[in-house]
């Protein structure tokens, strides 16, 4: 870890303005807002040294969410949430706006990459047992964030009001009607009546740009606050607990621990990583490289592949085959497997609902102190089955849809 003088130099380099007038302004603002202190708190923190590249996924998620907000704001300048003009406005953006197609493409590919990165981040957290005491709430907020991003994905897919969007809206709002007891009521609320129409699009738009982000942003703040409060856990390879050393030796690092370690209450063997590194510049550097690579990937995909815009919505068509977004393929396939109509609620609500609840409750289901994956088969084995199940379902769905 760096000493105080190193920190001061780094902070000075970061915060020193380029000219005297700016320095005066900066000092004036800093005296009132405490920017230097904030930067210290934000940038200087001990993080586990080993496995650092795996810990970049969280910050990459944050950067891509920021990218989604920015590209979304640009799209709002042109998009008109009306059944008669939504498609037209996006068609104008795609064909007549200089950078419209790229921005729209980045919003789409950003969503795809975001889901992948969040998924990987969750897998990393799960495998390393980072959800354990005292980080249970980090995990719970993370799972809720993932579900919210899924919600943003599906509502976003409905907005272009092309054939794909229209039939996605039809299917999604129809599936809602199978919710036991409240189904038709919920469907009417979303659709704004019995049929999909202008009100449906307006409400979906409101959910996409207001309701879900209004839940997402505060949760991100809470997630980051909790991360800072308890520190990055990393993986079992950083801890003495994994090596089953005597209590006395395991407790020794506690004496020399740097903030935010030890996170309290913690299992002694996993309270303080053996070898620490600076968040800035070491971890920030790695985070920046991964985030930049992902943003570059999103940009390249936006330019090369772009974002499809099918023909305008046509409720009278008899030939269009609706296909779900790739991240809903397992759920789509699950529906097909239920042989009778009354069972659809099992595939659409019971199983996904149960799976989401179990996912949220993971920290309370696995209360053993072990962090190594092979010492936690009670969770790793069902999780592996679930992952295999999701992959197989997605593959089977692709095969089925390809042959429709």
């Amino acid at each position: 870890m760096a000493n105080e003088s190193t920190r001061s130099k780094l902070a000075a380099r970061m915060t020193h303005p380029v000219s005297r007038p700016l320095a005066i302004v900066y000092r004036w603002v800093d005296e009132r807002m405490g920017i230097n202190d904030l930067l210290y708190k934000t940038l200087y923190e001990a993080v586990p040294r080993r496995g650092a590249w795996a810990y970049t996924l969280g910050s990459a998620t944050l950067i891509i969410i920021a990218l989604q907000i920015v590209t979304g704001m640009f799209l709002l300048w042109s998009y008109v949430p009306s059944t008669t003009e939504a498609w037209e406005s996006l068609n104008f953006l795609e064909r007549h706006n200089e950078f419209g197609a790229i921005v729209r493409g980045m919003h789409l590919w950003g969503a795809y990459v975001l889901l992948l990165v969040i998924g990987l981040h969750m897998v990393r957290t799960f495998v390393s047992g980072s959800y354990k005491k005292p980080r249970e709430l980090n995990w719970i907020t993370g799972v809720i964030l993932f579900l919210l991003v899924l919600g943003l994905g599906i509502t976003g897919a409905m907005l272009p009001w092309d054939q794909a969007a229209y039939w996605t809206t039809i299917v999604t709002t129809h599936v809602l009607s199978y919710f036991p007891g409240l189904g038709h009521w919920l469907q009417e609320i979303w659709r704004g009546g019995n049929q999909v129409g202008p009100v449906t699009l307006t409400r979906t738009f409101a959910i996409h740009i207001w309701l879900l982000p209004a839940l997402l942003v505060p949760l991100i703040v809470v997630h980051l606050y909790l991360l800072r409060r308890h520190g990055e856990h990393g993986a079992w390879i950083n801890y003495r607990g994994a090596r089953e050393e005597p209590d006395g030796e395991a407790a020794a690092p506690l004496v020399h621990a740097e903030p935010p370690y030890p996170a309290v209450p913690s299992d002694p063997g996993y309270a303080v990583p053996d070898d620490l590194d600076e968040f800035f510049p070491s971890q920030v550097g790695k985070d920046s490289i991964v985030s930049f690579a992902l943003v570059l990937l999103i940009f390249v995909m936006a330019v090369v592949v772009g974002s499809p815009l099918e023909a305008p919505a046509n409720p009278a068509t008899l030939t269009y085959v609706p296909t779900p977004e790739w991240f809903f393929l397992p759920l789509d396939q699950l529906l097909v497997q239920f042989p009778q109509a009354w069972m659809i609620a099992v595939g659409t609500f019971a199983i996904p609902g149960l799976a989401s609840t179990i996912l949220i409750l993971v920290p309370f289901l696995d209360r053993s102190p072990d962090r190594e994956p092979w010492k936690r088969p009670q969770l790793m084995v069902p999780a592996l089955f679930t992952l295999l199940f999701l992959i197989f379902e997605a593959l089977l769905a692709v095969n089925r849809l390809f042959n429709l």
Partner: protein, 458 residues
């Protein structure tokens, strides 16, 4: 040479009865499937255990991976010879019409298949011969194992393209549709899982036999550990089969209804019922092993006991026939389409929905639970390797033999479900032996021109 050619019939197949041809090819291919399955599942386990051995510094896992490579190299010699014999002698000699047509349609998948076969030889024998030397750079050896795994995955995918096309050739005018036909992915997933389960079962058999014949504590300990690995692998992967098998059957129902009917309600329904019986036997024997092995370790596990009871119940339910006849046609013919207690031939508890479906769902959840509980006890070091009893070894052998049988049976059902076709709706089995090529460019496959234009997607 010229004399020989003039003496040869005009490229007609060797004159032999259809029944004998079917039997010869059938037996050979069922054997080949077992060898190929062993290679494919084995490569995955070699790579996994070599990796685990490195990460966990566990010599036993490395030894296991090495043992698998040696077994694969020996098995490959025989399995490869079978495949070559099948292609060079049986297909070309007995079913040349079918083989030439198939080769013209499936040219590229079969070329890739042959290429993957060549790569398999190089990768497998390099691992076999250079295991110790490659061990000096462990990631390299693991990487080579990964190459072999991917290669065998591609190899199986290509042959599944052919096999699934023969069952559901729905996109014959469009090359991508022809390759990615409705049953390709379900078959691929089904066999991928099945192959790993099969290897686990073979390991369990070997471990069971070794347990019974072990003379030293070290031999007993290793065999006991190997048995646990085999059983956990076999049961874990078999647990997924009901779901994937259901999906596979659903696609067959949608795209090759006659085959589906034959398998589920027609002449092969008895074979299918026997398959349910074997599935129940595999899972019940495996779960029984888990339960008793944990008990031998001095632990009482009510969860495992409950799993064993539930599995037994699901086995009985799943194996109950739907009627007291070979097929539904016989039930209808006898005008006995009512339950047995009303004087008919139907047994309502043998119906697929909801009873067999309930049994399948129970199998899945019970198996996953049992594997999880067993591995939890293993991870807590509650089992001392080498303590396994004789009846546990017998349970492992029973489970392994049942998996081997079900592999052969599934191949038999799949290949005979198409009957009387070799390629559904396009080519009959009995067209092979009495086929005479016409003078023009060759007959169409049921009206489908099978030539280079099709291969190129034209």
């Amino acid at each position: 040479m010229r004399d020989l050619l003039t003496l040869a019939p005009h490229l007609t197949p060797v004159s032999i009865s259809t029944g004998v041809a079917v039997a010869l090819v059938g037996v050979l291919m069922l054997l080949h499937i077992q060898f190929a399955g062993f290679q494919q599942g084995g490569a995955m386990l070699v790579t996994l255990f070599d990796f685990l051995g490195m990460v966990r510094k566990d010599e036993r896992q490395t030894r296991f991976a090495h043992g698998m490579v040696k077994s694969m190299a020996i098995a490959f010699a025989f399995g490869g010879a079978l495949a070559i014999f099948a292609v060079m002698i049986l297909f070309t000699g007995l079913w040349s019409h079918f083989w030439v047509k198939l080769l013209r349609i499936m040219f590229w998948p079969l070329v890739i298949e042959a290429g993957a076969f060549a790569l398999e030889i190089m990768a497998l024998y390099t691992l076999y011969v250079g295991w110790e030397r490659l061990g000096r750079v462990r990631p390299l050896r693991i990487g080579l194992g990964l190459v072999l795994t991917i290669d065998l995955f591609v190899q199986m995918l290509m042959i599944n393209v052919v096999a699934s096309y023969m069952l559901t050739p729905v996109g014959a005018f469009n090359l991508p549709l022809l390759l990615i036909n409705p049953t390709l992915i379900p078959l691929e997933v089904h066999r991928l899982i099945g192959n790993v389960a099969f290897v686990g079962a073979l390991i369990a058999i070997v471990a069971g036999v070794r347990m019974l014949r072990a003379r030293t504590p070290e031999q007993r300990s290793y065999a006991d550990w190997m048995g646990a690995v085999g059983a956990a692998t076999a049961i874990s992967f078999t647990a997924l089969q009901p779901l994937v098998g259901w999906e596979y059957a659903k696609e067959i129902q949608l795209h090759a209804y006659a085959s589906w009917y034959t398998m589920m309600l027609g002449g092969l329904s008895v074979a299918f019922l026997f398959q349910m019986f074997l599935l129940g036997l595999i899972l019940t024997a495996g779960i029984f092993y888990f339960w008793r092995r944990v008990r031998t370790g001095g632990l009482r596990s009510p969860t495992l006991a409950l799993c064993a009871v539930l599995s037994l119940g699901a086995w009985l339910l799943g194996s109950t026939p739907a009627s007291l006849a070979w097929s539904y046609e016989q039930v209808f013919a006898a005008n006995a389409n009512v339950p047995i207690w009303n004087g008919g031939l139907l047994i309502p508890f043998g119906q697929m929905i909801p009873w067999k479906l309930t049994a399948l769902v129970t199998f899945t959840f019970v198996s996953i639970t049992a594997v999880t509980v067993f591995l939890r006890e293993v991870s807590r070091d509650h089992l001392r390797w080498g303590e396994a009893r004789r009846h546990q070894a017998l349970a492992l052998i029973t489970m392994g033999v049942a998996v081997s049988l079900i592999m052969a049976l599934m191949g038999f059902i799949r290949e005979n479900g198409r009957g009387p076709f070799l390629i559904t709706n396009h080519m009959l089995v009995n067209q092979q032996q009495n086929f005479r090529p016409p003078a023009n460019n060759g007959p169409a496959l049921g009206g489908i021109p099978a030539g280079p234009s099709l291969i190129l997607g034209g």
